[in-house]
């Protein structure tokens, strides 16, 4: 299971570099469509919780982050072969959809369920 907000217990414990708080993880975050300047055409909802992923992808990638083989190798290359190759990046892994009600340019009203709107878990890749 990827490390998620809902299941903190599944987040791997941090054993490397002593950076327990800096490990790649999901951070809850809310923004209003007013802040984005889109409130004149998005009717509902008013708030959007995209969340974000932030943190260090450690030398040994925790199993729970579901990193692909490529990320594991890249991490090794960074450590052992070439420091100019960056460490894997902390990015969203799973997403949730979101329903939005909006006004279209021609004045129509649109209800639509958009995929991939809310980050639910993070990974290093």
């Amino acid at each position: 299971q990827a490390c998620s907000i809902e299941s903190d217990a599944s987040c791997p414990s941090q054993e490397h570099d002593g950076s327990v708080n800096n490990q790649c993880s999901l951070h809850p975050y809310k923004v209003s469509f007013h802040q984005l300047g889109w409130d004149h055409w998005i009717i509902a909802p008013r708030l959007y919780t995209p969340n974000y992923c932030k943190g260090i992808c450690t030398r040994v990638l925790p199993y729970g982050l579901n990193s692909p083989n490529h990320a594991i190798i890249q991490s090794l290359v960074n450590e052992l072969v070439n420091h100019s190759v960056p460490q894997p990046s902390c990015v969203p892994y799973n997403f949730l959809p979101m329903s939005i009600l909006l006004i279209e340019t021609n004045g129509s009203i649109l209800y639509k369920e958009y995929e991939g709107m809310i980050a639910q878990s993070c990974t290093c890749r």
Binding site: W41, A44, I103, T105, S108, L110, Y111, E115, G116, M117
Partner: protein, 242 residues
């Protein structure tokens, strides 16, 4: 501008994430006239029944579609009254070349009762599509299994068959033309009824229900319909060929 993607981000690049495409095509801030009244209330009810306050789609939603578009009439023409009958024709534009979206249902919601200060009218709609089968939908109050956001002065007819058979998947834009017919109830005939103050949205609107057929489009957020997407892609391809 605060809150807006920079112009550089909105360059004419077909690989742009579609959320930026949407931002580019979003109504300008000068658009102050939001649809008001019953159509907006209808869609808000539909929204709140299908999603929670955070926008998460409800698991038990009965909407049966990923996308619902409320189309307002693009034009209405008031016909001269004939006896106690008052008629308007309403034109609804149909952008049917949305290849990534499948039209699964189309309904017309209209006011079947008009109670104005001095007038009481009973109304119905007729399509101008030949051999068009329409079906009145039961309201939520009459035991339908699917809850409807409808209020009692409004009614809904299913015109999926008409649109799919006669108007959808045509090249270019087509128009659904409806005749909105109202009859003054007895005792009101002597008064001269006029449609003054009533917009075409006050009497009828069209609802189109879609499901997406292409996973790649599902992944593209907030794309403003496949029509615009296709237009842009065609335009880009044409430029590339040149």
């Amino acid at each position: 501008k605060p809150g807006w993607p920079s112009t550089a981000l909105l360059a004419d690049d077909p690989t742009l994430p579609s959320i930026l495409d949407l931002a580019k095509e979003a109504p300008g801030k000068e658009m102050k006239q939001w649809p008001q009244g019953y159509p907006l209330r209808y869609m808000l009810k539909l929204y709140h029944r299908s999603a929670d306050p955070h926008g998460h789609p409800r698991e038990n939603r009965t909407i049966g579609a990923k996308m619902v578009r409320l189309v307002k009439p693009s034009a209405n023409t008031v016909r001269p009254p004939r006896g106690s009958w008052h008629v308007q024709t309403l034109d609804f534009p149909l952008a049917s070349n949305q290849v990534a979206y499948e039209l699964i249902r189309a309904t017309v919601v209209y006011r079947h009762q008009l109670h104005l200060v001095n007038y009481h009218l009973s109304c119905h709609v007729e399509t101008w599509v030949p051999k068009c089968r329409t079906k009145h939908l039961p309201s939520s109050k009459s035991g339908s299994s699917k809850p409807s956001p409808m209020s009692k002065a409004w009614t809904e007819i299913d015109i999926t068959h008409c649109i799919q058979q006669k108007l959808w998947n045509r090249k270019g834009r087509s128009v659904l033309r409806l005749r909105f017919m109202c009859q003054q109830q007895k005792g009101n005939e002597t008064r001269e009824f006029r449609w003054h103050g009533m917009t075409s949205l006050d009497v009828a609107f069209l609802l189109l229900y879609f499901n997406d057929t292409d996973d790649r489009v599902q992944g593209k957020l907030l794309a403003r319909g496949q029509e615009e997407l296709t237009d842009r892609e065609s335009s880009f391809l044409m430029r590339s060929v040149r």
